[in-house]
C-alpha cells in the first residue's frame, strides 16, 4: 500500500501552517485526516499524484475551508476554557484561604477608615497599576520573542485572559482621581472589595492559571498508550 513520503507529509504541514492552523491539536487532527484520506485514495488507485489527491481532499472542506474550521474551533472552545479557568479559580477558595481572604478585606476596610487611609489607597493603586502594566508588557514581549509559545488553543486563551486585567486598570484610577471619602463606610467596603478582586485576579491570571496549564490540558486530553 502506498504511504505518504516525508516530503509529502511536510507539504501537508506547510499548507496547514499557511492557513494559520498553528495549534498543535488541530494541526495533528487535520494532518491525520488528510493522511488517511490520501492513503485511502491510493488504495483504490496508487498512480494518482499526491498534489491531485490532496487538492481534492482540501476542496471537501467547502467554501470557508480550513480557516472556517479554525474559526469555529476558537469560538466553541474559548468559551469552554474560560469556564474551566473559572472553576479552577473557585476551587482555590477553600479553607483556610477563604478566612485569610476575609481577613485581608476587613484589614483593608479598617486601614482605609484611618486618617492615613487615603495615602494607603493611593500607594496600593500605584503599586497595582505599575505591577499589572509591567506584567502585561512582559507577557507581550515574551509572546513576540517566542519565549512563551502558543502551542495549543488553550495556551492562546491563557494568554488572552490576562488582558482582562484591563477592566481593573480602567476602574481603579476612577477612584484615584475622585479622591474617595472614606468617612462613609460603604466607600471603604467597596474599594476594599475592588482591590481584593483586582489583586486576586492578577494572581490568578498571571500566575495560578498558567501554573495549572498542564492540569487543564490533561483533564481535557486523555493520552492513550
Amino acid at each position: 500500500m502506498r504511504k505518504l513520503t516525508a516530503e509529502e507529509q511536510s507539504n501537508i504541514i506547510n499548507v496547514l501552517e499557511k492557513k494559520e492552523i498553528i495549534y498543535k491539536d488541530l494541526q495533528d487532527e487535520l494532518f491525520d485526516h488528510f493522511s488517511c484520506a490520501i492513503e485511502d485514495k491510493w488504495q483504490e488507485d496508487a498512480t494518482l499524484s499526491f498534489t491531485e489527491v490532496f487538492h481534492d481532499e482540501y476542496k471537501k472542506f467547502g467554501i470557508f475551508g480550513l480557516p472556517g474550521v479554525l474559526e469555529e474551533r476558537e469560538k466553541s472552545l474559548s468559551k469552554h476554557y474560560i469556564k474551566v479557568f473559572l472553576k479552577l479559580c473557585l476551587e482555590w477558595f477553600k479553607l483556610p484561604k477563604i478566612i485569610l481572604s476575609l481577613f485581608v478585606i476587613v484589614a483593608m476596610i479598617f486601614t482605609f477608615r484611618e486618617t492615613y487611609g487615603l495615602y494607603v489607597f493611593k500607594a496600593l493603586t500605584t503599586l497595582y497599576l505599575l505591577f499589572t502594566v509591567y506584567s502585561l508588557i512582559l507577557k507581550m514581549y515574551k509572546r513576540k520573542t517566542h519565549k512563551e509559545s502558543i502551542v495549543y488553543l488553550l495556551d492562546k486563551v491563557i494568554y488572552q485572559q490576562s488582558f482582562m486585567n484591563a477592566f481593573f486598570i480602567y476602574i481603579i484610577p476612577q477612584f484615584y482621581t475622585a479622591t474617595p471619602n472614606f468617612n462613609k463606610p460603604i466607600t471603604a467596603i467597596l474599594i476594599a472589595l475592588i482591590f481584593f478582586f483586582a489583586f486576586q485576579f492578577n494572581y490568578f491570571s498571571f500566575y495560578y492559571i498558567p501554573k495549572n496549564r498542564d492540569k487543564c490540558f490533561k483533564q481535557y486530553y486523555k493520552i492513550a498508550n
Binding site: 495533528d28 471537501k60 467547502g62
Partner: protein, 111 residues
C-alpha cells in the same frame, strides 16, 4: 440528495455512530456515514469538524489522543452527558419523522 435536509441531523448522526462504535476519529466518521448510507449521505469535512468541536466544547464528547503510524490521532467518545444527549436527540428525530409522515401520508378526509 438535498444536503439541507441532513444539515440539522449531523449531530444526531455523529452521536449515534459513537454510541455504536465507542470511539472514532474524524476521518473514520466521514467514511462510516458514506458507507452506511451507500454514498447517499456525504458529510463535508467543513461541517464535520466544527460539529465535533462544538460537541467537545459542550462536554458531550471527550477526546483521547493516540499515536498511530507515527501520527497523533484524535479519538472521540461519548461522555455520560453525551449518552443522555444521544437518547434525547434520537427521540427528537423520531418525533420529527413521525410528524413528517402526517404530511407524506395525509388523511384524505382532511384535504
Amino acid at each position: 440528495m438535498n444536503k439541507k435536509l441532513y444539515k440539522g441531523s449531523l449531530q444526531t448522526i455523529i452521536l449515534k455512530l459513537l454510541e455504536k462504535e465507542e470511539k472514532m476519529y474524524g476521518y473514520q466518521i466521514c467514511k462510516a456515514v458514506k458507507e452506511m448510507s451507500n454514498n447517499e449521505i456525504k458529510i463535508t469535512e467543513g461541517a464535520l469538524y466544527p460539529t465535533l468541536h462544538k460537541l467537545e466544547a459542550n462536554e458531550i464528547i471527550e477526546v483521547e489522543l493516540k499515536k498511530v503510524e507515527g501520527r497523533t490521532r484524535k479519538y472521540y467518545k461519548l461522555t455520560e452527558k453525551g449518552i443522555e444527549e444521544t437518547v434525547n436527540k434520537t427521540e427528537e428525530l423520531k418525533a420529527f419523522i413521525e410528524n413528517m409522515q402526517i404530511f407524506l401520508n395525509p388523511n384524505p378526509k382532511l384535504i
